[in-house]
């Protein structure tokens, strides 16, 4: 097994690249949540924001990731070569599933439950915090899961603009036509995506308990 040999020989570098990869994914997903969940909530309240928000997130999603990195490089303040630009791009990518699921989750709360809440005299914000958000957590989490898995993939491309991560091996391997090197980047990245999927999937199932009346 050339791959196992390679990983073992270079374990210090492999560990460093995995660390970079994880930080990229973690940071961008957390930031995307911080922006995307409130945005999704506001969209359920404002008709204008509803159209603008979904439109924006959809447009971003259609831009190929390599092109998005390219677009961002010349942008002052957030652009340039390095991890910062990569994180901005990854956040933009992660936004759509999070915004869309937050919006859909809140919208999907059963009307009779809302009607009862309003009739009992809950204010709109009490309804949001005590009823709508807790009842959409599983749907929101499903969006976060999709965002995180996508981010693991997008992060491999981030190496192209000097952000590091497992993409380094893949790009280096492609350039030198070395399949062991490509796999050294691709296999750990794929495993990481599977692990994220599994862990967040469990969390989602846990949040779904007791949901149906």
């Amino acid at each position: 097994m050339e791959l196992a040999e390679f990983l073992l020989e270079n374990r210090a570098e492999v560990t460093r690249l995995i660390g970079q990869h994880v930080s990229l994914v973690l940071l961008s997903t957390v930031l995307a949540c911080a922006v995307g969940i409130p945005a999704g909530l506001v969209m359920t309240r404002s008709h204008w924001f509803e159209k603008a928000g979904l439109g924006f997130a959809n447009v971003v999603q259609t831009i190929p990731s390599l092109a998005l990195f390219g677009f961002l490089i010349p942008v002052p303040a957030i652009g340039g070569i390095g991890a910062r630009t990569a994180i901005v791009a990854m956040v933009l990518y992660a936004l759509l599933p999070i915004v869309r699921n937050t919006y859909a989750g809140i919208r999907g709360v059963e009307e009779s439950v809302l009607e009862a809440g309003r009739g009992l005299g809950l204010t709109p914000s009490q309804l949001m915090w005590h009823i709508q958000i807790p009842l959409s957590l599983d749907v929101i989490m499903a969006g976060v899961r999709v965002a995180a898995i996508t981010s693991v993939g997008v992060a491999t491309i981030a190496a192209a603009i000097g952000a590091g991560g497992l993409g380094m091996y893949i790009f280096r391997g492609v350039a030198s036509v070395n399949s062991t090197l490509i796999l050294a980047g691709a296999v750990p990245a794929a495993l990481m995506a599977l692990m994220v999927d599994f862990a967040l999937g469990r969390l989602e199932v846990h949040l779904r308990r007791h949901k149906r009346s």
Binding site: E110, S112, V113, L114, E115, A116, G117, R118, G119, L120, G121, L122, T123, Q126, H130, I131, P134, L135, H210, K211, R212, S213
Partner: protein, 247 residues
């Protein structure tokens, strides 16, 4: 003395279609006023106008002698219990949390909330230790409906609005809960406005029945008055029941 609820020449329309017109009705303290009519006759609209889930286009609604426009809308809703057919229990909260939510929002102390929740569960005949911790999905239809009523009564509101509260239950459970409700009302003496399309339920529960047709009051009276009426419209509505009785 002021009536508990006073509707004065109320109009309500949606998309230029009149739902309620010229609607005037006084409801006194302690009565069970049943709004009876077919689907789409506007009976649910009347309920929602009383607790301001809907606003009238014209006319005035007074609760405890005060126009609902002068009430703070949240205070008004907490002053009036509200029960709907689908119950709408909060599925992510235990029965105890469902019953205690409003009390928590009213900043009651935890101990007092626990005490009140226990009282409410005992009131509807559910063992507090056992049922307080259950989730709505772990209750039978009848138990859910009982909890819905108890939740509406948590803050001890003087007025209770009920929209087809027993409509989704099987006939046997419905009879059981109707009887329980009558016994409960005998003790609590709330002012109840109950919407139903079930004539039998109206006759059983109502101290007064308001027959609605196309957003207007077609007839109004005690169950006895309605039963002995010679009015064509009333007789038409009563006919199915009479036929059943003959059988």
């Amino acid at each position: 003395m002021n009536p508990a609820i006073d509707l004065l020449d109320v109009f309500f329309q949606r998309e230029n279609r009149k739902i309620i017109s010229n609607f005037s009705l006084r409801i006194d303290y302690g009565e069970i006023c049943v709004l009876l009519g077919r689907s789409g006759c506007g009976k649910t609209t009347v309920l929602k106008l009383i607790n301001r889930l809907l606003e009238p286009a014209r006319g005035e609604i007074r609760v405890d002698g005060r126009s609902t426009k002068e009430w703070d809308p949240i205070q008004l809703k907490r002053h009036i219990g509200y029960v709907i057919q689908e119950v709408g229990l909060f599925p992510h909260m235990t029965v105890g949390a469902n019953l205690g939510l409003l009390l928590k929002l009213e900043r009651w102390e935890a101990e007092r909330i626990d005490q009140r929740v226990k009282e409410l569960l005992e009131m509807i005949g559910l063992e507090p230790q056992q049922f307080g911790k259950r989730y709505p999905s772990e209750l039978s239809g009848g138990q859910r409906q009982r909890v819905g009523v108890a939740r509406a009564l948590a803050l001890d509101p003087p007025i209770l609005l009920m929209d087809e509260p027993f409509g989704a239950l099987d006939p046997l459970t419905r009879q059981e809960i109707q009887a329980e409700f009558l016994a409960l009302q005998g003790r609590l003496k709330k002012t109840v406005v109950l919407v139903t399309h079930d004539l039998r339920e109206a006759l059983l529960l109502g101290t007064r029945i308001v027959l609605l047709r196309e957003g207007r009051i077609a007839a109004l009276g005690t169950p006895q008055e309605l039963l002995s009426s010679r009015d064509v419209e009333i007789m038409q509505y009563l006919k199915p029941l009479r036929d059943v009785h003959v059988l």
